[in-house]
Point group: C2
Chain length 454, copies 2
């Protein structure tokens, strides 16, 4: 139970709120949203369109408005931001941390970006944003904020406290003070707890923690998240190639990386393109799902074409048709299992990874074990129920081959995708299932053709 | 790039290290691990067996050993802990936060649990652990630690600082001081930043932040994670039904919940039972994958049995067999897409959720749109390539029906599973794909039977 705001975030409130917005009743909006956590207001905003959102944000404090704009879903941000002038946007950006500011600016058309940055009053912030624009969004440099507290190695604790006071407004969340040398090179950190417990005249050099984990600006966002998770960090300093402290990533951003990654993987695996949700429109949902269904359809038609080559065989022995779903389904299941284990291995950082050869050998052995067991089960059941040795042999051999092939495909495909920079989770999606279907059918009918001696 | 320790975490080091452990060369172990971050030592430990692990942990500082034990993978913890006596374990638990301590104790056999708790020296910690044992592992009470800083509303900042000093050793990470009244009811918080910037004689009552988000002890772990993510919190206070502050959840635990959930979902979706990884043995991997493959096999055999009912039809018109994979594959794809969107909706907290009826209607319309488009494509292609109207009609109608049915199944199944307390992600797994296969075949052959007028 989230203790506060429970009442206001109700369906009834939303209805009253939307009506008030449409009737431009500013009083209702400001009075009911007064003091409400911006994260909660963002949930209400989610239900509004661009124009309604603009109306509400204009009525709120600029800090609250800034936070709401940051919280807008990425796919709606650029549309919603069109309603604001460059000057208005600059006022909001002024209130954002530089990492959020640059994310918002990245959603704007190029011309407007420069206008907004030029209009940001806080010159330091404008400089920060210009600096951050240089980085890709999915590396440490694109995640970090420039706002943080840094202390020189030669300072006293009192000087650190002065610096915190000076920066208090700029840096919302402070966990540590980062210690740098005269060249700005990151040396370590002093936690706020230690600052509180130390004498004001204590020297940073005497008490700082030297063992500090940092990442380079070009570290991949997943590496950032894994590092923060491994070392249980709430903030991670970012250094450039020379070891100079250039920014700080906070845990909320790492957490977003993890959930977005999981979401993207799921969509890849289920063949849904784009970031759709249950409450999108029928048309958006259809459109997101159709491409992969059509690919599956094309695969199915190719399969049909392929099976038709064996039309005469099927006319003679219709039982051959019976086991088509068994073969394709097993191929699909094995392929997805294999690729899933590989994808998981790729996602988790492991210092002592097996070589590719060792991996492939293990995949091969697992496939052999499972293939033999499944083939034996099927052989037994088919022999028992039909006494057709040729059929039982065909299905068993085909099944065994399919397990082997699908394991191989399921292992190689994500590795290959990863090598060329495509999300390997795609290898667990409909495309590969379809490919495995075709492969399985080929094996099945070839084996049958051979065993029956057509 | 993780800046420090890069060299030691190499394959060569691991080899030398394992040899040293087997040869009981204590010197090599202590000298190379001296000063190394426990999270990194844990990665080395991952590669060792229970006995080797015991040898290494015994050589390390007890705090480091405690952290390594906490970091052990859950499925190996209970096995590894067998090698330690209750007294030894108590020494380690003494060094852990109460939430980690209770997790470790939960892995022990019941008799040993009491022994360990009785041997924990710090009586306050023992009490904490006894208290935490009452909660299920997957609710807020099971995630929280009892260690935190609480301040009475009537205190001064100086008194808060004294309390922090007193608790400094017990509470490793301090983000805020929680403000309570005389009955222990949670009123708000004061951030460490504010404590540093306030005068020592300032009153907590004057400066504390009243707008605080908390959860109840029985809140589900996913709700905890979503709440922390929504409000960007690094720590979340937990209150009992009377509003009394009873514990605190830190962000690292919420992050673990999110990754474990994503992992579990993926395994459900791919039909792998248990928490297996690429580097498990061939046998473990086979065993984790076989159950679902066998279920798929049984489904495939049922499918074979079912198709065999139409043996005569197939002998007359072998072309009926051609489209079996098309029908089953499309059913599978549509089913997985639908369930995936539902599962995603269930996982994300939404205050303004659509009613079930509205959801189902939307699913229905999406299915109709996609079904019609796919059916038209297939009808066109089959007519064009075979001129067989009955066949084109059969495949198109069957495909349309399969899309509708699979959408329905894919939507209802996860909702039903969720209702009865089973992870809804299972609805995207092989079990449902198999059910959809059978359903699709039924529709296909019934339609064919009818249209061809057998």
């Amino acid at each position: 139970m989230i203790e506060h705001m429970e009442f206001e975030l109700s369906k009834e409130y939303l209805e009253a709120f939307t009506q008030a917005v449409d009737a431009k009743e500013a009083d209702f909006v400001t009075s009911t949203l007064n003091g409400v956590n911006p994260a909660d207001i963002s949930e209400v905003i989610r239900e509004l369109d661009a124009e309604q959102t603009k109306f509400v944000i204009d009525l709120l404090d600029v800090e609250v408005g800034a936070e709401i704009i940051v919280n807008l879903e990425e796919d709606r941000q650029s549309l919603f931001l069109e309603n604001f002038t460059a000057d208005e946007l600059a006022t909001f950006v002024d209130q954002m941390d530089s990492d959020d500011g640059v994310d918002v600016i990245n959603e704007l058309p190029i011309e407007k970006r420069e206008e907004v940055i030029a209009s940001v009053e806080n010159e330091e912030k404008a400089g920060y944003i210009l600096d951050l624009l240089r980085y890709e969004e999915d590396v440490a440099g694109g995640l970090m904020a420039k706002e943080m507290i840094r202390a020189n190695l030669n300072w006293t604790i009192q000087q650190c406290i002065e610096e915190i006071r000076k920066q208090a407004e700029n840096v919302e969340k402070i966990y540590s003070v980062y210690v740098v040398d005269n060249e700005g090179k990151l040396l370590g950190r002093v936690s706020l707890k230690k600052i509180i417990l130390s004498e004001p005249d204590a020297l940073v050099a005497d008490i700082y923690e030297e063992d500090i984990v940092s990442v380079g600006t070009h570290a991949d966002e997943e590496e950032v998240a894994l590092t923060m998770q491994k070392y249980d960090l709430e903030a991670l300093p970012v250094v450039n190639v020379k070891g100079k402290l250039v920014g700080r990533i906070t845990i909320d951003d790492a957490m977003d990386v993890i959930t977005e990654q999981a979401e993207e993987d799921r969509q890849m695996m289920t063949g849904i393109s784009g970031d759709v949700e249950e409450d999108d429109t029928v048309w958006v949902l259809s459109k997101a799902r159709l491409p992969w269904l059509v690919i599956g359809l094309v695969g199915g038609l190719l399969g049909a074409k392929f099976i038709s080559l064996f039309e005469k065989d099927i006319a003679l022995i219709p039982a051959m048709a019976f086991f088509i779903p068994l073969i394709t389904a097993t191929g699909g299941n094995v392929g997805i299992q294999s690729s899933s284990i590989v994808v998981q291995g790729l996602a988790s950082y492991n210092a002592f990874e097996d070589t590719l050869l060792k991996k492939m050998l293990k995949v091969f052995f697992v496939a052999v074990v499972n293939g033999i067991i499944l083939a034996l089960i099927v052989f037994g059941i088919v022999i028992f129920s039909t006494s057709d040795q040729a059929m039982a042999g065909t299905v068993a051999i085909a099944l065994f081959s399919v397990v082997l092939l699908a394991s191989f495909m399921g292992t190689v495909t994500p590795l290959a995708l990863d090598k060329i920079g495509i999300n390997p989770a795609m290898a667990s999606g409909p495309f590969i299932t379809t490919a495995n279907d075709l492969l399985g059918l080929t094996v099945y009918f070839m084996v049958a053709h051979f065993l029956y001696g057509f």
